[in-house]
Amino acid sequence: MAKMTGARALLESLEHQKVEVIFGILGGAILPVYDELCGNKKIRHILARHEQCAAHEAEGYARASGRAGVCMATSGPGATNLVTGIANAYMDSSPIVALTGQIPASGVNTSYMIGRDAFQEADIIGITTAITKYSYQPRTVAEIPLTVNNAFYIATTGRPGPVLIDLPKNVQSASAEVEFTNKIDLRGYKLPTEPDLARIAEASDLLAKAKFPLILAGGGVIIAGASEELVKMSDLLMAPVATTFMGKGAFPENHPLSLGSIGMHGNPAANKLMGEADVLLAAGTRFSDRATANLDSFAPNAKKIHIDIDNAEINKNIEIDVPIVADAKVSMKMLYAATSQKLKKGEGTAWTKRVKEAKEQLSPLLKDLPRDLVPKSLLTELRKLLPESSIVTTEVGQNQMWSALYFQALKPRTFISSGGLGTMGFGFPAAIGAKVACPDRAVVDVAGDGSFIMSEQELACSVTENIPVTVIVLNNSILGMVAQWQRMLYKRRYMAVHLGKTPDFVKLAEAYGAQGLRATSIEEFHKAVKTALASKVTTVIDVPIGSETDVVPFVPPGCGLPQQIGDY
């Protein structure tokens, strides 16, 4: 027991959780915490330039490291600016803890208190209920340590997600006896136990007998750290592996059995073979609409095994034959052991041949590589330039889907993108967060001009805080993905997609003290990336590309996965 302020108790609790960095912006209602941060040697504070980016930075940190990322903001607009970042973390199951200052919960002779519509009051818990895994508003100093323990435990275990702690200012500045503890007190928090052995047996029967087994790996495989088990399982079954967009990196995309990702802009081989599989082993995926396309034609011939840690995902979108509600790593290990006993070796050669043939015929990467400045050659070139462990983030739109198609992710946690929410402006702050988590690795944001403008002010953060990353702006002066939809689905009636005079990104970078480069040929691009990777300061590479280039192939809305259109 020791007497201290709520602000001090919060910071010591965070230290207890081994928090090393907070991405945040201060304001009136969080000042006591910032006062305690002053001189703190254990926790680094990184000043974001917009709270939304602070949340994305925390998420980039979390997804690169596997540990909880922490962001902090003041009450009112500070808190509401976090909302998009929190929603993004919720949709992509990323562990972040968001700390918000709140106006005082009580006071004497003042209307500056919760419930009185005071200055910078926002009901952030009410606002974020649907996009947080849980939220807390401690009303006493004494409850802070347990609250923080619970918050980190909830954020990082089971299906991870964002947790909010809204701390009233009077609790930050009040003093009380505080006891630190490792205790977690959550009687209603149910984590899945070991996989059901009967289900494992059922699933291994199906897999052992399968003629055309296919594995679909989602983001849950990355979160569970089950990539090694996934590769072993694929090798055992000689089963091709497709990933969802969020699962990109779960399986090395240069592996002979890799099909790349499925979905609306998926790899044609993956989308095609999904329709031919007789047993589908899906792990850590929620079968999002962008992954499955029309449900009726999603793997129609396959018996479906679904491993997921979240029971609510079973049968939510897809009817499942064998559900396994447990951690993907543990389940995959047990399933491997059970299946290897039943499997007769040497079978499945017809399927292996078919997989090879489909990849050769359909893979967009194996076709001729143009030497001009188009996304396909840029991203293929980028893969060659980056070490395997480098981290690539993307913005949202064409840049993102081109990256999914043409940039091979080889390791888990090296491809970080806004999957579920599709947040433009995510990639750059996520890259900053990832770089903080992995300072020795190259971090590259593949951006579009439209998206980059949404968080370009974080250049100030990355330069000032000395967090060098590389931003590659695929600059087509248009909001390319919606323009593509208007072109393909709305008879080329372009509305509000032309960006007109976009900024000179080289000068923009220089204005912030970053390095600006422009590449107008593959050779220049090659050189620019090399320069950027060697740079001690953030580099923006402006790459002008055509404004009418489509992301193809494309499964139009309402169609099934095999009904892809477009030459690629």
């Binding site: 818990i125 009410g126 209920t129 649907a130 895994k133 849980y134 909830i154 959550l186 009687r187 209603g188 928090y189 149910k190 979240d310 029971n311 609510a312 079973i314 049968n315 939510k316």
Partner: protein
């Protein structure tokens, strides 16, 4: 006891502020429609029971139960097995009394339905009636002939039959 596709879901939750908001918000956000909801403390003061009636097919109910179960403040949730639970609703009905002839007619009805008259004035009677929603509907149908001035229904509350119970430690 079950009417149509109405299902009854019994939920034990932490008895603390914000929990009702979380659950109600979950139903709204997931596009589930609540028919009625009742909340009150259980024999354990730190635990409340919510009884929710909802219309939906099996797949919807399965999702409701799973999504509710996932909430951190939810200790236990289960769909009450049709035919194996008891349920009651309470209604307070203020009935118009045009004349003394009608007054005795109303009192007769109340007695048949085993209701109680809890307030009397010259122009109105207030009746307390308890039962299944069907019984209350039937009573209200009769009262409509006299004229219902005001109505307050609680929504149903329910428990599984026999010694079986929904417990936190199960």
């Amino acid at each position: 006891m079950e009417t149509g596709k109405t299902k009854v879901i019994s939920i034990l939750v932490e008895n603390k502020p914000g929990v009702l908001h979380t659950i109600a918000n979950l139903f709204r956000r997931r596009n589930f429609n609540i028919d009625s909801i009742t909340v009150g403390p259980t024999q354990e003061p730190d635990t409340s029971r919510m009884t929710i009636t909802i219309n939906g097919d099996e797949k919807t109910i399965d999702q409701v139960v799973k999504q509710v179960a996932k909430q951190i403040d939810v200790l236990r949730v289960s769909e009450l097995e049709p035919g194996h639970f008891v349920m009651r609703e309470l209604a307070l009905v203020k009935v118009n009394v045009p004349s003394s002839k009608e007054r005795s007619d109303i009192i007769n009805c109340v007695n048949v339905f085993r209701g109680r008259i809890i307030d009397v004035s010259t122009e109105a009677l207030t009746v307390e009636i308890t039962g299944t929603p069907d019984k209350i509907d039937a009573f209200l149908n009769l009262m409509n002939t006299f004229g219902v001035i005001e109505l307050a229904r609680t929504g149903i509350t329910a428990l599984a039959r026999g010694a079986k119970s929904i417990r936190i430690d199960e």
